[in-house]
Amino acid sequence: MVGKKLLGRENALDMIDKLIRWSPGDLTEVVLRSDFTALTRFAKNYIHQNVAESDYRVTVRVIFGKKIGSATTNSLDDDSLKEAVEDAAAIAKLQPPNEEFEGLPEPEPLPDVNCFVPETDSFSAKDRAAAVKEVVEVAKERGFEASGAFSTRSAELAVGNSRGVRAYNASTYAALSTVMAGGDGTGYAEASGRDVREIRPGEVARVARDKCAMAQNPVSVPPGEYEVVLEPLAVADLLDYLGRAGFSALAVREGRSFLAGKLGQKLFDEKFTMWDDGLDPRGFPIPFDLEGVPKRKVMLVENGVAKGLVYDYATAKREGKKSTGHGGFRGWGPVPANLFMGEGTATLEEMIRSTKRGILVTRFHYTNMAHPLKVLITGMTRDGTFLIEDGRITKAVKNFRFTESALRVFSTLDMIGREAVRVERTVVPAVRVPAFNFTGVTEF
């Protein structure tokens, strides 16, 4: 992008030093971000929205004893920054002490992870348009219409506090997604990564196009329990709910998690293994969290046994543990942010072949938690839902609503795909489940 102004390590950390120097607090924490996002959106085979943004955000927390005030500004001039420090200090003084405040983390050595790819950083509006053109050409070959978005982002995150934490990271992000529509079907595919060169628009487009071609003439199949083969996009959706609902140490402490009192028990299928790893380049690596604490790999479920939880600084300190680098989501406690699910041995074809009468799901849409302790989730299927009969895909079907517990899904996995793929921040394989509860059906 033209005129982009990343601050760079030195400037970012200098700014943090300055804010800490100005702060009258007993403790001070500064989180600084810069964000340069560009996104080209297309619909019906043409570009209809095309945007760019350049923004900074500085949040300073000023702490007197256990009284905490926080102020955020997006202006980097000294006057605005001073005003933010004064605002934070003024509101800190207005409140009673927060007895749950456990202080700020001390500095620790940070892992060296490269998250910044210059080719992504320099990807231009012209480059995005060329990629979109490639997608559109693939759609047109079959008389389909492509919609979607191609985005790139360059960002900086710097965290510092008055106990000496100084963390800086620059990162890039690129993503392409497309829905292809034609006749009475749709198909979807996406790709993302830190390196824009890993995104092959033609390949993404062909996957979506083939799905759309297969999705023609959908028939309405009655809702009920079916065997299902869930492709990685659908698995990632359910896994994210499972991670968020269960594996936060604060949620467990407060009895809001299904894991309360159950750590160490076998709660899942023995083939099921899940962990959080913010450093693995197969996902979206990032060296530290919003408290400046290094990311640590946490085994959450091993061979079906619930093994671990993620911690932020405060929750860890209260329990005499060490933060796992999952802090900064104030009020909500720590949450897993980079989930991985262990691979199995099956191919997608093998899962389909071993299904007598079942449904193949490409992805879910508009999922929502109906009950957090049961991890009961409802949502729709979308963009490629198929009937499997006697080991073969026989027809496209109209989209279902499901109302099903993720706990049940991951405790009854009978086959797991041998290749895990990146779905945004989550890396998962496809799975086969013997019974999945579809509770409704729609008209398309």
Partner: protein
Amino acid sequence: MKELTRKALDVVKELGASYGDIRIVETRTQTIRTRNGNVDALSSTRSKGFGVRVLYDGAWGFSSSSTLTEDEVVRVAKEAVEIARASATVKRDKDVVLSPVKPVVSKWASAVKTDPFSVKTEDKIALLLEADRLMAGCKEVKVRIGSMACQREDKIFASTEGSYIEQTKIETGAGIEATAADRGELQRRSYPTSFGGNWATAGYEIVEQMRLLDHAERVSREAVELLSAKQCPSGVMDVIIESSQLALQIHESCGHPIELDRVLGQEASYAGTSFLTPEKLGTFQYGSEEVTITADATLPRGLGSFGFDDEGVPAQRVTIVDKGIFKNYLTSRETAHELGQVSNGAMRADGWNRIPIIRMTNISLEPGDWTLDEMIKDTKEGILVATNKSWSIDDKRLNFQFGTEIAWEIKDGSLGAMLKNPTYTGITYEFWRSCDAVAGKDEWELWGLPNCGKGEPGQLAHVGHGASPARFRRVKVGVGKW
């Protein structure tokens, strides 16, 4: 600021743009959250910046920046044209055409009785902590949350067609909630509604009117009672929906499908399209005769109210569904032209760094002439549901499913036992056609939703919905295995 807007518009005109506009937006937000007796977030946020939107060679470009200097305005204006040029390389078979709007020079400010920023922060904290204390009576209540926020947005809109509009909008919101957990069950209750409470384009007076302290003990008690309440039965029965849940029902099943950009496929890749395709306009039976729905951006206190939208189109009141018949979409200048209409003013952007897209204003179910009591008395077998817990709807907005915090049995005209985990599901138009009773003006309430997500990159809109309780016949309830 006038020099900056003029500079941006001059630059884009010189570069050959056929249309350009600039918005300069400054927002100030204060957020307070209490959790289990502590102030767990107290923050003040300021954001300012500008965005330039242009049409060049019949295609759109937009760029934005938080640095409000003349040099940066020139850079961003040039970049917007550069981006539009790239858009034009993968263009539609016809150019974007904007339906006409009269250029205006105007100022607008929302009405406020008590400026929420003038109320002492200590007093706001004291109110939330007192509500927290009142919720703390029951040991099963594991998490108590109180929240309050206010926002002031100052916005300038200027276009190459000669509009120059200054608007100031003040919003305030608050709410409390209690989450109880015991022996494998978890239940939440909130007031006045869930997910951050109620919001309005108004000052601190709306917080005072909520009387949070009068409801705190009940909220906490109901959360605990729900732990051992009867599971909502499964079956087909009549459902009476209280007004805050009905507000969300309107939002998902009427508000979104009437957005003309969705209808025309512009959101296909993300949120989806709409079952309300253009041939249905004016004839489709969306609901029963009891159902009249309006979109009104002029509604006092409505969270979706404004003076002018982000294309400089004045705020309007539009009938969406008239006695059951689908009459109008929410439109923009570009999409209205596709139907041979002019914009009805629904284009809004989430801040300086986003383009305007079609957003709900205040989409309301007009009051009928029943009362909630009469409806209950008139119902043989059914449930009364209240306060949203979960929501989901398909990408054409047909198959929906909602969960609410609480319900009560209705048997032979009277309210019975409390029910936990209520859910209900249906197909949008079948559901609205089954509406046979809507309560009157006295029970009509206006709700503000500050978190309607749409678009890529993501945008959150502040929208409003008015509703009074209503009854729907033969609805599928108690979905899934519990």
